[in-house]
Amino acid sequence: MINLEFIINTISLGSLYAMLALGLVIIYGILRLVNFAYGELIMVGGYTLYLLASFSPLPWLFIALLAVLVAMFTSLFTELVAFRPVREKSLTAMLVTSFAVSTLLQNGALLIISPRARAVVLPQIFQTSVMIAGTSVPWRNILTILTSLVMLVLLTLLLRHTVLGIALRAAADNFTMTRMLGVPANTVISAAFAISGIMAGLVSIFWISRSATVTPALGAPPLLVAFVATVIGGMRSLTGAVVGGFVYAIVISLLGVLLPPGLLEFREAFMFVFVIIILLFRPQGLISSKTSVERVG
């Protein structure tokens, strides 16, 4: 059924996927690195939520904020100790490093916490709905949409109106030239990893609000969604990440209502067919940085 509920759900899913894709593409744009450890940042955010919600008396808003901060600092930390030492070597070295970081973080969660799923205590608001025009809309979806809107506005302001943001865009265009103007490579890369970590932390809140559990392998599905969304939108463009996130959400939701029940479990397979068709016609993704001027938001 394509009704208001469906539309709001899809926009909410698209908002979530847009944030997810942005966190991946901001690093790819500068380092040409697909950070396979990105999913694990979401996992780390998830476990922070689980631990603090179960074992601390802190209010939930504060816990959510801490989860975002922990994801951000984990991201910065992986850059500092894992990626920075191999950065000058080769892209392949970076890629292997990102696999290693991903595995280490997952094994860390396995060892320190448990291989089994843990239930995350969610606040009341994630379980309640509000009536809008006669349809019941979960608060969770409204919060997802609002959060991603705020993040898009903040990110746009950062990238358009601060010197750091302009340097980030310049670095995505031509990193060496940016450095030759005196912009330190480490500043730009740390900023990108920080933004990526913040996105992962925010996504972890809303991802987990859907399942209410965390597992060490939690990061794999969102990483795949982020990757596919950026491929659809175009790996080189932040606008592309947002567009890709929404296209992914719209297509997967439509498949959910249009496919006959017997085929529903193959929804992902149909999704990939769709992606391949897009790539046949637009190998650079929907928004290619060659033909369009990069704008965010």
């Binding site: 302009i166 310049a170 265009d173 060496t176 030239m177 030759m180 103007l181 912009v183 330190p184 001027v293």
Partner: protein, 240 residues
């Protein structure tokens, strides 16, 4: 001010520089001339820190800068306008220039430099909010030079600034270089346009296959045999 002592550099197995020694004094305009593939851009790349020489030393104000990062070298006041300009095409002219002034400490200096740049390149004022990629080739070259000047460089390095420009624009670029030199900017110029370069420079080096073949003032070089090869090479290759 700048001194290269027997620099060797290679790209993987290819040796591009085999012992290049040059020096540039404060306020001088020096050209580095040579055929395609002589190693001129590689030399500038080594000075700018994009490529690490594997032998030899580079001194700036007497201190070694070989092996420093591009951002450290930029902060010392060395500015490179690369071959092919490398302006940020998705950034506006405004944003390109703001990054050009990234290392400036005072806002006042930024505005002073911007005013000067509008005076030197009025077209950039008109195009201020336009993405760099939408400028014409000549305008992009002006933007690239302007961006380098924004940082108040002590040493300006220009890699083939007249490349691909219409004759009228070539004249303008050479006039501009001459004017910057008169103002006291120290300039290391790489050019294919030997005639025009020798008209304005204090000294020049002739490079061939990774080595300095000869050097001297324009008068000395004009009578030198090697220059013939470069003239011929340039004429042969670019039809000028």
């Amino acid at each position: 001010m700048l001194e290269l002592n027997s620099i060797h550099a290679r790209y993987g197995a290819i040796t591009a520089l085999r012992g290049v020694s040059i020096n540039v004094s404060q306020g001088e305009l020096v050209a580095l001339l040579g055929l395609n593939g002589a190693g001129k851009s590689t030399t500038l790349g080594c000075i700018a820190g994009v490529l690490k020489p594997w032998q030899g030393d580079i001194l700036f104000d007497g201190a070694s800068i070989a092996g420093k990062s591009p951002e450290q070298i930029a902060r010392l006041g060395i500015s490179l306008v690369p071959e092919g300009r490398d302006i940020f095409s998705s950034l506006t002219v405004d944003e390109n220039l703001r990054l050009g002034g990234y290392i400036l400490k005072e806002k006042a200096e930024y505005h002073r430099n911007l005013d000067e740049i509008f005076e030197l390149f009025p077209v950039l004022k008109e195009r201020f909010q336009q993405p760099g990629g939408t400028l014409s080739g000549g305008e992009q070259q002006q933007l690239a030079i302007a961006r380098a000047l924004m940082s108040s460089p002590r040493l300006l390095m220009l890699d083939e600034p007249s490349l691909g420009l219409a004759p009228a624009l070539v004249d303008q670029i050479f006039e501009l270089i001459d004017r910057l030199h008169q103002r006291g900017v120290t300039i290391l110029l790489v050019e294919q346009n030997v005639d025009r370069s020798l008209e304005i420079v204090d000294r020049a080096y002739l490079m061939n296959t990774g080595r300095i073949e000869s050097q001297g003032t324009p008068q000395q070089l004009r009578t030198h045999a090697d220059i013939e090869g470069i003239y011929m090479g340039v004429k042969g290759q670019s039809g000028k």
